[in-house]
């Protein structure tokens, strides 16, 4: 069958939008990463790989932000996946109660991140916050913490907020994945005398792997993009202990007026996410089984 050349015209609107909103900024960022552009003036100079050299060898704050981001990502990915999966298993059947619970768990997702930041800043407030007050009421005073002011735990406090914010979204993906598993397989497992754990291990999890892959990849990307939450709750402090790569890019670009350097960190950021996502896909793909 001969395809008319005019069909290619249909690609144009999409290609145009993609070029304007994705390709151009991407190529621009790559270009400016080799310059010392301050983001304001007309003039800039090429600095070769100087910005990359600085980020990789001469910027202790950047190294710290990468470490913070890794801690944040690990806690969020593990906790969010487990919480979402556990709740998905609980609310799997389409009963009225479960439909209500699903909506309830999903609710935080529709809030704006600034609202979430405000709510959780109040919860974490060391003197007025509800969390410390509850601990006190329960006689667990020894667990009272300066949740966002203690540089050793602040990043984990933010991770908990991120999990609360997005677990509902992942729950929906898991519920869809679980509901797609044929009932027959569970019946066979039952006839064969498989325990609940064996059924989960041999039937549920392998068939849920595609959903889990999406959840983990998306959660990973989300945890690198948690800019708004970190910015609104701690601003990266205290002493850079909650500074993640995205907030650092913002600081370098918009507070230090060093767009060239910020662009180079952005490129490195992209490479880090790409490597992690690739490794996750590789690891999770080996778990996939078809019956």
């Amino acid at each position: 069958m001969k395809i008319s050349k005019s069909i290619y015209l249909f690609f144009l609107p999409g290609l145009l939008l993609y070029s304007i909103f994705f390709l151009y900024p991407t190529v621009s960022a790559l270009f400016y990463s080799f310059t010392d552009w301050d983001g304001l003036s007309d003039a800039y100079q090429f600095v070769g790989i100087g910005n990359y050299e600085r980020a990789l060898t001469g910027d202790s704050v950047f190294r710290k932000t990468v470490g913070n981001n890794m801690k944040f990502m690990l806690v969020v990915v593990i906790l969010q996946t487990l919480v979402a999966l556990a709740f998905a298993l609980i609310v799997l059947k389409n009963t009225k109660t479960n439909l209500f619970l699903r909506a309830l768990y999903f609710f935080p997702t529709i809030l704006s991140s600034v609202s979430v930041a405000f709510i959780w800043s109040f919860i974490y407030d060391p003197s007025l916050g509800i969390l410390n007050q509850i601990l006190e009421l329960l006689g667990l005073d020894f667990l009272r913490q300066n949740w966002l002011g203690n540089s050793d735990i602040a990043i984990y406090s933010l991770a908990i907020t991120q999990v609360w914010f997005h677990a509902g979204q992942m729950l929906i993906i898991f519920v869809a994945g679980l509901q797609a598993i044929p009932e027959d397989l569970y019946e066979v497992a039952k006839i064969e005398g498989a325990s609940k754990w064996q059924t989960f291990q041999k039937v549920t999890w392998p068939l849920l792997a595609p959903s889990a892959t999406i959840v983990i990849a998306y959660t990973t990307i989300q945890s690198f993009k948690a800019f708004d939450l970190v910015f609104a709750m701690t601003g990266g402090g205290p002493n850079n202990s909650t500074e993640i790569i995205a907030t650092y890019i913002f600081d370098v670009a918009f507070r230090s007026y060093n767009f060239g350097y910020a662009s180079s960190i952005s490129v490195l950021f992209m490479i880090i996410i790409a490597i992690i996502t690739f490794l996750q896909f590789k690891a999770l793909r080996s778990d996939r089984i078809s019956y």
């Binding site: 983001g39 007025l128 002011g149 892959t213 996502t277």
Partner: protein, 422 residues
């Protein structure tokens, strides 16, 4: 199911979205002007003082009555956002014919980009106190005119001090005695909003006499000084002492500005470690408070050179890219009239840099003596022109308040300073 390739591509593009706003606009963007409605020329006025909206609306209405050919469109942005993105709005001249700038890093960046119209020689410059507008000068040109005069030093409960028979301490020894007396009376000496603006405000008065050299941060930035030297390590040790002796509330690094203000308004704490700009809000929370200003003197009385900190800020400027510069200047001329400035000062509870302003509110009258009678220095933090170095300096304070040794915190911060020195 998402294919590996498309996921990889999505992940690849993701970080650039964070920079889409910066890279999407090239440095050589063309200029565009916005025409006014009818015969009127509309000028754009951008700033960050949301709390001043009502009084500025009224002043703008008066301006438009007197100059019917000019209308003013005011846009207000949160200060954090303004500090970060304000300068980018000036690039094409369509926004911010009149704009405001913070002193320090933002002023330097805008000046280096050439967005300030030189106001030297304009008649309205004489309406300002000459000694208070030097921060808006660069290379002999008056690029901006600071409008507000803020005292970035603790606000204290004068009534409480009088009741307890306490006097304003004149030395570090006296300061500690005063704090001990407050603690004995179950009053927290200092409410410190460590989760937000506390470190960047309180560092000024804590270091003003430890490092009386006003060029200290310039020297730090060019490598002649170090944070590991006596002046900064002592400042960090003083912060450590405040924390260890309970002179600031526990968990201070988790305390927000609102919580700290509530502590002072409820008279749980005697001082608020922010600045004069919070006096009106404190009185709003508790009208019975009698307030004044007091900076900690961290040296012995004989060594003290400064009594407080001032900042001439909210710097009015004309965008050099604007096509309505004359109208923009007319608006600044109007704002600098003593009667208009007086209205602004009294309705916002701010001291101003404009001459012949009549302060009517009690709190402004009671603290006006700080303008002429006390020796204050310009806010040192605003003399750090490199934001990464500023963050390192502030980070060392947070580090110490979090339990780090002052020298180790100073060394860690100095490493960041060395990495970012230009």
């Amino acid at each position: 199911m998402i294919s590996k390739k498309s996921s990889f591509t999505a992940a690849l593009l993701l970080p650039f979205l964070a920079l889409a706003g910066c890279a999407g606009e090239s440095p050589d963007s063309g200029s565009e002007t916005e025409s006014g409605s009818g015969d009127r020329t509309q000028i754009s006025f951008i700033h960050w003082r949301g709390e001043d909206k009502a009084v500025l609306d009224d002043i703008i209405a008066q301006f438009e009555d007197e100059f019917p050919e000019i209308s003013v469109e005011m846009n207000i942005y949160p200060s954090e956002q303004y500090q970060a993105t304000g300068q980018r709005m000036l690039t094409d001249g369509s926004t911010g014919d009149v704009f405001t700038s913070f002193p320090g890093a933002q002023f330097e960046a805008i000046a280096n980009a050439g967005f300030f119209e030189d106001l030297s020689g304009e008649d309205f410059v004489e309406n300002f106190d000459e000694s208070l507008i030097t921060v808006g000068e660069k290379d002999g040109q008056q690029l901006a005119l600071p409008y507000q005069l803020v005292f970035n030093m603790p606000v204290y409960n004068k009534g409480m001090f009088d009741e307890l028979g306490l006097e304003v301490p004149k030395s570090w020894t006296e300061f500690q005695e005063m704090a001990d007396t407050l603690l004995e009376n179950d009053i927290i000496p200092i409410a410190f909003p460590g989760a937000d603006i506390g470190p960047n405000q309180f560092m000024n008065s804590m270091m003003m006499n430890n490092a009386p050299d006003e060029d200290i941060f310039e020297k730090l930035q060019n490598g002649e000084e170090s944070l590991t030297n006596e002046w900064w390590v002592k400042t960090l040790e003083d912060f450590q002492l405040l924390e260890e002796k309970g002179y600031i509330q526990s968990d201070a690094l988790g305390t927000s500005q609102d919580s700290a203000m509530a502590m002072v308004a409820n008279e749980e704490a005697a001082m608020l470690a922010t600045g004069s700009y919070h006096m009106a809000a404190l009185l709003g929370l508790n009208p019975d408070l009698e307030l004044d200003l007091m900076a900690p003197i961290t040296v012995e009385e004989s060594e003290a050179q400064y009594e407080g900190i001032n900042t001439a800020t909210f710097m009015l400027a004309v965008n050099s890219n604007s096509e309505k510069k004359e109208e923009a200047k007319e608006f600044i001329r109007f704002l600098s009239r003593p009667e208009i400035a007086s209205q602004y000062a009294n309705e916002t509870g701010q001291h101003l840099t404009v001459n012949d302003v009549e302060y009517e509110s009690e709190v402004l009258q009671n603290t006006a003596y700080w303008i002429d009678e006390r020796k204050t220095r310009f806010q040192p933090r605003f003399l750090i022109t490199n934001a990464q170095i500023e963050a390192a300096v502030l980070g060392s304070i947070e580090n110490v308040l979090g339990g780090a040794d002052p020298m180790e915190a100073a060394e860690e911060a100095q490493q960041i300073v060395d990495e970012n020195r230009e």
